[in-house]
Symmetry: C2
Subunit: 445 residues, 2 copies
């Protein structure tokens, strides 16, 4: 079969969709130089008919019904960029059924229904590109599937939600409370009108689940991931963290120990000297340890029209190269070169995610207590009964009879013990609000 181009159809012409169209148009020459043929956006679907005027090329036709894209016999690759579960899932499954490769940036869908899509694509011998689903400006999917393929991945730590990192950065730099920074972020377009997914850690957990699948060769049941957002963090905690030499970041954490993994998302204190501590604003980064290459860090923009567009187009280039490379294949032969989720389907293994109660960590604990004599010794007594030992205490200002913060850093402790101790402590009459804990990553000092 002699081809003169690779034809692409796109469903969903929002921010990222526009970025994809723009990159395919503006970087057409350089893409053709790298692939050997043009990659042409032949058809775009969006329910909002007014978006037709935003198409950068007159070669592209515009429709309002996604079925026209999926059913178009000329289209080699269908891109889904509408987000959410439905109709995104139906679009991808229908395109696979029509024997088309697909590309998506839909992390929620992959986190919750990825297995069904991977299975369908594997059965059809088709590819699913999802480089745009995590950290658009960092080619982390391809790095895990190819660049680091010789490694057993031991652990990784990611700042992979730009909105929450922007909010924590601003709270740190300008000593402002969460709510006012969130409002500012919404005004600037860095946070959505309903910011729940970002600030509650759900978006981070979606991406964590995709990365774990690739890194460890396991299915992830999304509900097993422990998730805690940033809404409880106050400027006071950021200031205490600074005094201890830490920054507070919303981290996605994954560690493998034998057949068990830790998979959790929560605000975390990390030493200010760590490279992750310097990742500010809407930038993303992933710090990763492999058993051969040691420590690495990948840093870039997390989202946006062009960074995520660049990731989506890198998937198109990869699939286009495979199509061209395989163009002398039997039509029945599989057309996926690199296993969809980095491991062969039959070689994946279910690893158990440790419940949060079973993890061990260092902890920052902030109590709000009435400043009475004996309070400190009572609290530390209860912690001691739960096998929690304290490495540092800060209590500033003394205001007999007033509520003051008392901050403790612990040695390595079991989460279950911390929770049980705090349940008891939070019922004491002189504890005036729910005690806040922030897990600390790093070695004991």
């Amino acid at each position: 079969m002699q081809r003169d181009q690779i034809k692409v159809g796109l469903v969903g012409f929002g921010t990222v969709g526009k970025g994809v169209a723009r990159i395919l148009h503006e970087n057409a020459a350089i893409i053709q130089k790298r692939v050997g043929l043009p990659i042409t956006l032949t058809i775009v679907a969006d329910t909002d008919a007014s978006k037709k005027s935003l198409l950068p090329s007159s070669q592209t036709s515009f429709v309002t019904d996604y079925k026209k894209v999926v059913d178009d016999p000329g289209v080699d690759i269908v891109i889904e960029l509408i987000g959410g579960i439905e109709p995104a899932k139906t679009i991808l499954l229908s395109a696979l059924k029509k024997n088309k490769h697909v590309v998506t940036a839909n992390k929620a869908l992959l986190a919750e229904h990825g297995e069904e899509l991977y299975n369908k694509a594997n059965k059809m011998g088709l590819d699913i590109g999802f480089e745009g689903s995590v950290a658009g400006g960092i080619p982390i999917i391809r790095i895990l599937k190819e660049g680091l393929a010789a490694n057993q991945i031991e652990s990784f730590y990611g700042i992979i939600n730009g909105t929450s990192n922007y909010i924590l950065t601003k709270m740190t730099e300008e000593k402002l409370p969460f709510e006012s920074v969130l409002r500012e972020a919404q005004r600037l377009g860095y946070a959505e009108a309903d910011p729940t997914f970002d600030i509650e850690g759900i978006d981070t957990a979606h991406k964590l689940s995709i990365l774990i699948t690739l890194a460890f060769g396991t299915q992830v049941h999304f509900k097993d991931i422990y998730i805690e957002g940033i809404t409880q963090i106050t400027p006071l905690d950021i200031e205490y963290a600074r005094e201890f030499g830490f920054k507070i970041k919303l981290l996605a954490i994954a560690k493998r120990r034998g057949n068990e993994i830790e998979a959790r998302v929560h605000p975390t204190m990390i030493h200010e000297g760590e490279m992750l501590a310097s990742v500010n604003g809407v930038f993303n980064a992933i710090y990763l340890v492999g058993n051969a290459l040691g420590q690495t860090l990948f840093y870039g923009k997390g989202a946006g029209e062009l960074p995520t567009g660049s990731a989506v187009v890198s998937d198109l280039i990869d699939i286009a190269r495979n199509i061209l490379y395989a163009s002398s294949f039997e039509p029945q032969a599989p057309r996926v070169r690199v296993p969809l989720v980095s491991f062969l389907p039959q070689e994946r293994k279910d690893l158990r995610i440790k419940p949060i109660d079973e993890i061990e960590s260092l902890y920052y604990i902030r109590f709000m207590v009435l400043d009475n004599p004996g309070v400190l010794s009572h609290i530390s007594g209860i912690l001691g009964e739960h096998q929690i030992s304290i490495s540092a205490v800060i209590q500033k200002g003394r205001l007999a009879g007033e509520t003051v913060p008392v901050v403790m850093m612990t040695h390595r402790s079991l989460e279950r013990n911390v929770r049980q101790a705090l349940e008891t402590i939070d019922q004491l009459p002189y504890v005036s609000e729910k005690t806040l804990t922030i897990r600390v990553e790093g070695e004991e000092t």
Copy 2:
């Protein structure tokens, strides 16, 4: 053809060779899960027969004549890890002639004779893997060829020589002179007995030339790269840099403007807030700007048995995946999926490297002068005559009649003007030694 394994032959069983053997052995299970078949090291050649005892697997045979590897009809992929130009070049060309894919980590060979090898491989439809040639622990070759393929690369800045970065880091942290840190690095094995390639910037330039080829789609004539090492840097300059808020790093710099590029290696001052400024010790990093994804940074170990071994094995995995993917191909079909140097051979274009005289930069200039009245005004007068304007001056301590350092920071200036001005200034009777300049990257402040 039904295969049950991919067979690999290795020439050169030094540090990296041992790393490759160890990774193929210890990570065999995970590699097979990702590829679908085992990748087996069947034969190793090294002129030192005593190395046979270091083989991790009894499946591997050992020979002292590399020709037995190249001629072995069972071998699918030949790895060259002996370094240097010959016989490395002959080994790779003979293996290609014998219809085998090849993998190398030989940056000097690729920088100086890469085109001959790429041409031969393209003619044969064979692959050359060289992920191990630059920054072993960072999959930067694959990132440029695939992850960022949708981008026009605009510029990049690399710390890509661990030895010189280790020396500059130690000089900075411990305020020690170059020579004593070099001796310490030699003692610890971080610098070779003859450290010329590392400390004079040649190794960095070899790697820069490979990255430019991939990023910009051009041939690089190695001699056109401007190269300056770190031997002239003193603790005094590092201290002045600190006062201005800078760190000194040996950078590989590449910028593209239309059909011209800058390609240079020299000690460079960068703001201490830049992520590259925090890359310390033997770590490497590459900061890169693409027209779609914006700014990214990739960080990891630069060299060593396992990091570079990991890179070499990632090439084996890539080629193995291609072999399996294409196993139903006609034998005559090309077996390279991604163009060797990121662009199709016919789509590459020769870009001119600007001679160093034509670049513009900010400059740190350290004069050693006799502390006489009028010296400062005379020197700044000469700079002014050459269109060089000064943004800051530091002259500490006054010792009439003694030699003292006078440090100036300039606004953006043309290199040629700086050189001409200094030629004049260095002949003044009260200038007591050759004036030192360090280019400063960053915006005017």
